[in-house]
């Protein structure tokens, strides 16, 4: 053999280094041959030019072929992986479904939380520079509670430091009735009153036309309107000639001067605005909602009055100036009011949302629960993989005996894991989309007013957690097992092979039981809370009441015709079969205007105490119609008319709070300016339907005849199911007043159900999560016990051979299961305590640490554990001793 020359040796080594670009398996197979061929060619090359050519060929060849080999290997492994997964189709499907549910649930809940509480829905510039000006006790209630008067807004505008821009808008979004051109029917729309500079302050341009012009704040002769992009598309088909057209709003004519930017529909997350008009148009559109008043004349324009707080004031503050601006505003307002105004600037980047207020905490609790479910799912998958991995040792031993390297085996296992997680991820996306929509529908009880697109960050994160579990429990143990000599793997008994998987698997099952305890206990609490609310005494009889909301004045009925219109409507409704009585009210059941500044006879309020009542104006038949019991005194009668002495009926809460013993309230007096109202009756507390869990407010009912307000609610008492009278009542109203739009017509039970939407959501979801976790825990228990049986076959065979009865053997298996449940419960108890603290604000009428609920949860887990052990126990008791011992 000729001795290679130094440059030949160097070239060969250099070529071998290049071979590192090939996959290891290809290198193992053909690397030596390739080196030999290259060396032969190199030796046969006689000139430098030939050698250079050879090198170029070799390098180009490797750069071309190596990636193809890698791709071929990945495709091959993917095909092999799919085949392997198909061979264990049931286990694979279980893993994929389990992971998909865990990942999908997390994604759905987090996406919703993101849309509601985290992401900014305001498509405005530099939203972080926007603040709401809030003050006094409303600061603690949140930005949505802020309120200022017209003069207060002017004062702030005049005292604002340079660079600070202020705008104002009505606190409420009003429902109005519009007509365009020659339309005969009015069409409802949503309207908000705004200062002319609201759009520039927010940073929202016009899509077409112009925005509201700068105007003198008290000039009422500016019937101009800006409509939203969505409304423009909906009502005008996106036609450019919408600008300049006339639109009638609540009977008054406005000129449309512009269209708002696409994607902007106001600052309320769940209430898109269709039309914006100037603040000065308040009396023209008859806006009379979402306000507090003190010593004001509600019948005169609101903007100039300092006693009506009806505006949200928004400030755009340059970075770093918030503190200075707060100080300046506080100084101005405090000077005006003669006391510390307690001004605060509250962030406005995310706009306003009632949904956020109501559902932020429940969504976060759900987020925690969904995470627990994901962990339980990963634990289950880990168990499945561990126990399956045990069976795979032989398969991997065969592969290695046939020449597969460890790296190749590892690569194949990784591909399988990736396939599982990809399938689970795809299923999770579909599940998350469905779950997110369903969640929103249940929460809002109707079509969703905003979108909650899938947040792919959380999907990727959850999938990463899943992948980690799969790799940690599927790939790692299996790969480690390849260190064992293949012959040993073949020879090893089932017992020794499976022994390695038992302890981690048992630990995982115990963890699953602990997680299940938390979820089941949580569900129990929410179910009990829901049942408490369902059986709550609402203070009226919802099953016999139908509520109708109308607004004759807004629909254009002249003021002098109102009494006659109402009389006709009530007479017609009274003629409907099944109707027992009717009544009128200013506001709906349990939801009314809050008025403060009252003085009560013999009661001295504390220094910072505000005496505030919920006030409703009703006709005499109101209490018997809605079924609110009279506790003492009398209700109203025809003598309580306009010029008669003022009287009121109060609720139990008010009577107790201000007069000690509630029966002492009869004959006592209260009032705003003086003590001019006499209490003639006391009724039971009526729960606020908007928030049944909240404490009942002190409430005052006054005769409608003694209050100059337009009643908007017709309450109807029926002797039969109210739902069956809806069509007849609608026809009666239409017959009595054909042009009177019915805003809503629904049985009171529907209103109550809507008020329970948050609780219903929690019950539904926690039940679903708990059921899922329980199922996973049961599955995990079943699996671990089954494999334990297989491991202990010879032991059971020996015991039976020595005389143990089947029931004795069964009990030993079930005892094993119950032991795991016990460990899980012990670990789960501290987690339950932590969870209780988290959920304390969400439950009603039951302590978050309620012992019976916890006991019931433990019982459920015990039953599930015993049931999971039943199958394996039966199998163990049927082991044939001879077969078992022979196998060993």
């Amino acid at each position: 053999m000729r001795t290679p020359r130094p440059h030949e040796r160097f070239s060969r080594r250099a070529f071998q280094a290049l071979l590192a670009l090939y996959p290891a398996a290809f290198r193992d197979e053909y690397g030596r041959e390739l080196s030999l061929v290259f060396t032969d060619r190199y030796r046969d090359a006689t000139t430098r030019w030939d050698r250079a050519q050879l090198w170029v060929e070799a390098v180009v060849g490797i750069l071309r072929e190596a990636p193809q080999e890698h791709a071929r290997m990945i495709v091959h492994d993917l095909r092999d992986g799919c085949r392997a997964l198909r061979r264990h189709a049931l286990v694979t499907a279980t893993i994929v479904v389990t992971l998909a549910l865990g990942i999908g649930a997390n994604t759905a809940v987090f996406s919703l939380l993101n849309a509601v509480a985290v992401r900014s829905p305001l498509p405005v510039e530099h939203a972080e520079q926007l603040y709401v000006v809030n003050r006094g006790r409303h600061v603690a209630e949140g930005a949505e509670s802020a309120r200022l008067s017209g003069p207060g807004f002017d004062l702030l505008r005049n005292s604002a430091p340079d660079g600070v821009q202020l705008a104002a808008m009505s606190r409420g979004v009003a429902r109005v009735y519009t007509r365009i051109g020659q339309e005969r029917e009015t069409v409802p729309a949503s309207l908000q009153l705004v200062s002319s500079n609201l759009f520039p302050v927010l940073g929202v341009p016009a899509a077409l036309g112009r925005l509201l012009p700068e105007a003198n704040g008290t000039d009422a002769n500016q019937p101009l309107a800006v409509i939203s992009y969505a409304y423009w598309q909906r009502r005008f088909g996106g036609s450019p000639d919408a600008v300049g057209r006339q639109i009638t709003i609540n009977g008054a004519s406005f000129t449309i001067i512009g269209i708002g930017a696409r994607g902007f529909a106001g600052v309320w997350l769940e209430t898109p605005v269709d039309i914006w008009v100037p603040l000065t148009a308040q009396p023209i559109v008859q806006y009379t909602q979402s306000f507090t008043a003190d010593g004001a004349n509600l019948g005169r324009p609101w903007l100039p009055q300092s006693g009506i707080w009806w505006l949200h004031v928004v400030a755009r503050v340059p970075p770093g100036q918030a503190t200075a601006v707060t100080g300046a505003f506080n100084a101005s307002l405090s000077r005006l009011e003669g006391r510390d105004a307690g001004v605060a600037l509250q962030p406005f980047a995310q706009g306003f949302s009632r949904f956020r207020q109501q559902f932020s905490t429940p969504l976060m609790v759900l987020m925690v629960m969904a995470t627990l479910v994901l962990l339980a799912a990963c634990a289950n998958v880990a168990n499945l993989l561990l126990t399956r991995g045990v069976g795979r040792q032989r398969e991997l031993a065969v592969r290695m005996a046939l020449g597969a390297g460890r790296a190749r085996v590892f690569h194949q296992l990784l591909i399988e894991s990736a396939l599982i997680v990809i399938m689970a991820g795809a299923a999770a996306v579909a599940f998350a989309r469905w779950a997110g929509d369903a969640l929103l529908r249940v929460a809002i009880d109707g079509p969703a007013p905003f979108a909650a697109p899938i947040d792919f960050r959380v999907l990727v994160f959850a999938a990463a957690v899943a992948l980690l579990s799969v790799v940690a429990f599927g790939v790692w143990p299996a790969w480690r097992a390849t260190r064992v000599d293949p012959v040993e793997a073949f020879r090893g008994s089932t017992r020794t092979i499976m022994g390695g998987a038992t302890r981690p698997a048992r630990t995982l099952v115990v963890l699953q039981v602990a997680l299940s305890l938390v979820l089941v206990t949580g569900t129990g609490l929410f179910v009990r809370s829901f049942l408490e609310l369902l059986h709550l005494d609402l203070g009226f009889e919802p099953r016999r009441v139908l509520t109708v909301r109308v607004d004759p004045k807004l629909a254009g009925v002249p003021a002098r015709d109102l009494p006659e219109t109402y009389r006709r409507v009530l007479d017609e409704i009274a003629r409907v079969p099944g109707v027992e009585s009717t009544a009128l009210a200013m506001c709906g059941l349990g939801t009314c205007a809050i008025e403060d500044g009252y003085h009560v006879e013999g009661y001295q309020p504390r220094k910072d105490e505000v005496v505030a009542f919920s006030v409703n104006a009703v006709t005499p038949a109101y209490f018997t119609t809605v079924g609110t019991p009279l506790l003492a005194g009398r209700t109203f009668n025809d003598a309580d008319r306009e010029k008669a002495p003022y009287v009121a009926v109060v609720n139990r809460t008010l009577a107790t709070r201000y007069f000690g013993e509630w029966s002492q309230a009869i004959g006592r007096r209260f009032g705003l300016t003086g003590l001019d109202v006499e209490i003639v009756g006391i009724v039971e507390d009526v729960r606020g339907l908007g928030n049944l869990k909240a404490a009942v407010m002190p409430s005052v009912f006054v005769p409608l005849a003694q209050r100059p307000v337009i009643p908007r609610e017709v309450e109807i008492r029926t002797s039969i199911d109210p739902a069956t009278t809806m069509t007849a009542v609608r026809r009666a109203v239409e017959a009595a007043a054909p042009s009177l739009p019915i805003e809503s017509l629904e049985p009171a039970v529907v209103l109550v159900q809507r008020g329970l939407s948050q609780e219903r959501l929690m019950v539904l979801l926690t039940s679903a999560f708990a059921a899922l976790a329980l199922g996973l825990a049961a599955f995990g228990l079943f699996g671990i016990l089954s494999y334990a049986i297989a491991r202990r076959t010879s032991e059971f065979g020996l015991r039976i051979a020595l005389g143990a009865t089947p029931s004795h053997v069964q009990w030993s298996v079930v005892r094993d299961a119950l032991q795991l449940v016990l460990y899980g419960v012990v670990i789960g108890l501290p987690l339950v305590a932590i969870g209780g603290r988290l959920a304390s604000g969400l439950v009603f009428g039951v302590s978050p640490y309620d012992p019976p609920t916890l006991l019931a949860a433990v019982l459920v887990l015990t039953v599930v554990g015993a049931a999971a052990g039943a199958g394996p126990a039966r199998r163990a008791s049927r082991v044939d001793p001879m077969i078992a011992l022979r196998e060993e």
């Binding site: 053999m1 000729r2 290809f26 197979e29 053909y30 041959e33 390739l34 030999l36 061929v37 290259f38 032969d40 060619r41 060929e57 070799a58 180009v60 060849g61 490797i62 071309r64 072929e65 190596a66 193809q68 080999e69 091959h76």
Partner: protein, 123 residues
Amino acid sequence: MTPRPAHAEDPESFLPLHRDTFHILVSLADRDRHGYAVMQDVLERTDGKLRLSPSSLYASIRRLLEQDLIEELDERPDPAHDDERRRYYRLTRLGREVAKAEARRLERLLGDARATGLLPRRT
């Protein structure tokens, strides 16, 4: 190894062959050879026009092994090349049929070219 589809027993299903593949099969038709010998043989028969690089040679060899057109023999030393132990390859029965089928296909093409006057007819 990639499983062969059932119809792969039919030599026609492998046609048309890649140029390099055909030359390798032809090279193994008369005797067993190792990799470098195949490379040399192809170079000679094509008058130096087709020089297989080591990478493409072994990529083709791997494919042919998977398709069961060639088979590996035990390693044995080659005195012509430093007596180093090298892996020898041989045509399988299927490989021989496939090579013949390709040769017949090329012959048909040649016949067509002669028939249309593209190439002079055989005398």
